[in-house]
Amino acid sequence: MSVDASWYMALSAVLFAIGGAGLLLRRNALVMFMSIELMLNAVNLTFVAAGRELGMIEGQVSVLFVMVVAAAEVTIGLAIIVAVFRRRATASVDELAEMRG
């Protein structure tokens, strides 16, 4: 039984659904960020698997670009979380219902 790309696609779908569920379930901003990272990783896995199946190197190149964007996003997001925590002493998104400094 050989492992072809559809197995990786199915696994990525499962990981993506887990990440989406975590994003909707949790109220901690840090855990929500981790869920977004999990979803990005699941999509990266589909890129690499499809790139091998189609014989194209562009899948792996796209993964590198996604990683760069994710790194920038994590940097900004964690800076925002730390800034909010300094002001509000909480990381729960329920406390941030109004856009007031």
């Binding site: 050989s2 492992v3 909707l24």
Partner: protein, 193 residues
């Protein structure tokens, strides 16, 4: 039952278990550890898919740098603080579980309809994800997008410094209300100039 299938099944279980631990753990440190497990498993899948350089980058950047940053912020904010409150939206958990299962089912169904099948439908051939192959593509065809990521990272660095600087300036004035706070930050800007 070859070795590739065995490795895939083992690390698929590890990845899914890590994801579930990340979602369900009360302590954010356990969530980070679950995500770390999933990221290592995905690096193993990259190796199975002949993407050796991407696997190395995954371990270095994600499991190394990004997770260290996450753990640092978790430790900075405090791990013993329980910020999970009761549900604000009624029936949130059942709705989320139903929606996630529906999303998974729809993605799998759509994948069966439009699944890529067979090797070499478009260009074909084996690929190997060495540094040489990837850099040929990256510094040839994708030179302009690669350079624009430089701007993206610069913007991210400047934004982080700005957030850290201006969030730390009005400290102590937070009790006096937002009006005094903005004045303090304005005078801080003038003082910096």
């Amino acid at each position: 039952m070859n070795i590739e299938f065995f490795v895939f099944a083992l690390f698929a279980l590890v990845a899914i278990g890590g994801g579930l631990v990340m979602v369900t753990a009360r302590n954010p440190v356990y969530s980070a550890m679950g995500l770390l497990l999933t990221m290592f498993s995905i690096a193993v899948f990259y190796v199975l898919n002949d993407a050796h350089f991407v696997a190395a980058v995954q371990v270095l950047i994600y499991a190394g740098a990004v997770m260290t940053l996450f753990l640092f912020v978790i430790m900075l904010i405090g791990v013993d603080r329980s910020v999970e409150r009761e549900e604000v939206i009624p029936f949130q958990r059942p709705i989320v579980i139903v929606l996630s299962v529906a999303l998974l089912g729809m993605v799998l169904l759509a994948g069966q309809a439009a699944w890529i099948t067979g090797r070499g439908v478009f260009s074909g051939g084996e690929i190997n994800g060495t540094i040489e192959t990837i850099s040929d593509e990256l510094f040839g065809t994708w030179m302009i997008p690669f350079l624009s990521t430089m701007f993206l990272l610069t913007i991210a660095a400047v934004g982080t410094i700005t957030l850290a600087y201006f969030a730390s300036q009005p400290r102590g004035a937070a009790e006096e209300g937002s009006n005094a706070e903005s004045q303090t930050s304005d005078s801080a800007v003038r003082g910096a100039e």
